[in-house]
């Protein structure tokens, strides 16, 4: 069976966070796309659904929660693994994100080790069966 590169969408309103995340995820071997908020992320997903989404929670113009609810309503939107990222570790917020359809949770700032571990945990590697 042939294989292809795994695609990851980084959704964050901070250009700095997107840049850092892109560098780490590209080093791991994923193809990376970016979106600056939830609305932009839905547009990117409509064009090409990624395999995994690294999703910021607090964003203007459709936050992570609203994006995830909308994404998970569509059949194609059930496919990506979603790791949501916050700067807080509030139990209520984590539980709410899981109910909305997130697969994992990561607190910012994160490093390569943690991100790699989380990607493994949700079962995605740099190459997937095509």
């Amino acid at each position: 069976m042939s294989q292809r590169d795994t695609t990851c969408l980084v959704v964050d309103d901070s250009a700095v966070i997107r840049k850092v995340a892109r560098r780490i995820i590209e080093e791991i071997g994923f193809l990376v796309s970016e979106a600056e908020d939830g609305a932009n992320a839905l547009e990117v997903c409509a064009e090409a659904m990624p395999d995994v989404i690294l999703l910021d929670w607090n964003m203007p113009n459709k936050d992570g929660y609203a994006f995830l609810q909308e994404l998970r309503r569509t059949e194609a939107g059930l496919k990506p693994k979603v790791i949501f990222c916050t700067t807080e570790n509030d139990v209520g917020a984590i539980a709410r994100a899981l109910r909305a359809g997130a697969d994992e949770y990561i607190m910012k700032p994160f490093d390569r080790d943690i991100l790699t571990a989380k990607l493994e945990q949700v079962g995605v590697s740099a190459r997937l069966d095509a």
Binding site: N89, I94, E104, F110, I114, A117, K118
Partner: protein, 281 residues
């Protein structure tokens, strides 16, 4: 630190913990022991090593040895060994011990507790299958400091992010400020005890499963051989020893052999027939 100081330390650490410090670990010795100088009133590493030679300060002795141990660990480290434990090793042990309904597990280098608690979580998730069973998890480590942390079961955000599924974080931990504490029921499942792997295992009894992952890599071949052979005696019939991915029993003991189907898992070598034993001597 002079060459003689380093040689003295190498012997000192090896004798007390089994850790084999190669010449290229000199930087590690300096970086880990230098911070101890002020605490023990030593002007330099040379001075600190001089104090070690006066064998009356047990705290200094313990602190120096513990400073050289590596305590890297995280929940469900490498994942595969824990999947194997849940899906194969545990069901087989339950079938084997169904008569006496007792299961004993040993984490031989428990560090700060993530490994024994990972096992405890899997056992708790097994639920009804273990109802009526006596399950012992013995978690040992040479370092008193890491065992103290393990007993408390309090972890930072960084520690719970490494390997622990978020659903289990919410299920088994309570948030206390910036940290997370594992549930009292899981803490109660694990018995922590200081233990040096160079010492005899007899008093610990036999175990159905022994986890000793990423520990032997720090020992030289004779020490590995000795420990593995003694694990062979501590392992109950049909039991499983789990080592780290870079570790093996091959060429080190004839008591244990790799599990043909599962990488990183080792069991008893079959007993040689009497005739062959006699022939071999």
């Amino acid at each position: 630190m002079t060459d003689l100081d380093f040689e003295y330390l190498r012997g000192y650490i090896k004798q007390r913990s089994g850790l084999a410090l190669t010449a290229e670990k000199r930087y590690l010795v300096e970086s880990r022991l230098s911070p101890l100088c002020r605490r023990f009133g030593a002007a330099s590493l040379h001075d600190l090593i001089g104090k070690l030679k006066t064998p009356h300060d047990k705290v200094l002795e313990r602190t120096v040895v513990e400073a050289m141990t590596t305590n890297e660990t995280f929940f469900f480290r490498d994942r595969l060994p824990f999947d194997l434990f849940r899906d194969t090793i545990l069901p087989e042990a339950l079938a084997r011990n169904a008569g006496r309904r007792k299961l004993r597990i040993w984490c031989a280098a428990a560090s700060t507790g993530q490994e024994p608690y990972s096992i405890a979580m899997l056992l708790q998730e097994a639920g009804a299958r273990l109802s009526g069973w006596q399950v012992d998890i013995l978690a040992t480590d040479i370092s008193l400091d890491v065992l103290e942390k393990a007993r408390l079961g309090i972890y930072s955000q960084f520690e719970v992010q490494r390997g622990l599924p978020v659903q289990w974080l919410l299920k088994h931990f309570t948030q206390t400020g910036d940290q997370w504490q594992i549930s009292p029921s899981l803490r109660a499942m694990v018995e922590y005890r200081p233990f040096n792997l160079l010492h005899g295992f007899e008093a610990l009894g036999q175990f159905d499963v022994i986890f000793c992952r990423n520990v032997l890599i720090y020992f030289d071949a004779p020490t590995k051989s000795d420990i593995l052979t003694r694990f062979g005696t501590s392992l109950a019939p049909g039991g499983a020893l789990l080592l780290g991915a870079a570790e093996t029993v091959i060429g080190l003991t004839d008591k244990l052999i790799p599990d043909a189907k599962h990488r990183g898992v080792y069991g008893h070598a079959p007993a040689r027939p009497p005739a062959l034993r006699a022939a071999v001597g």
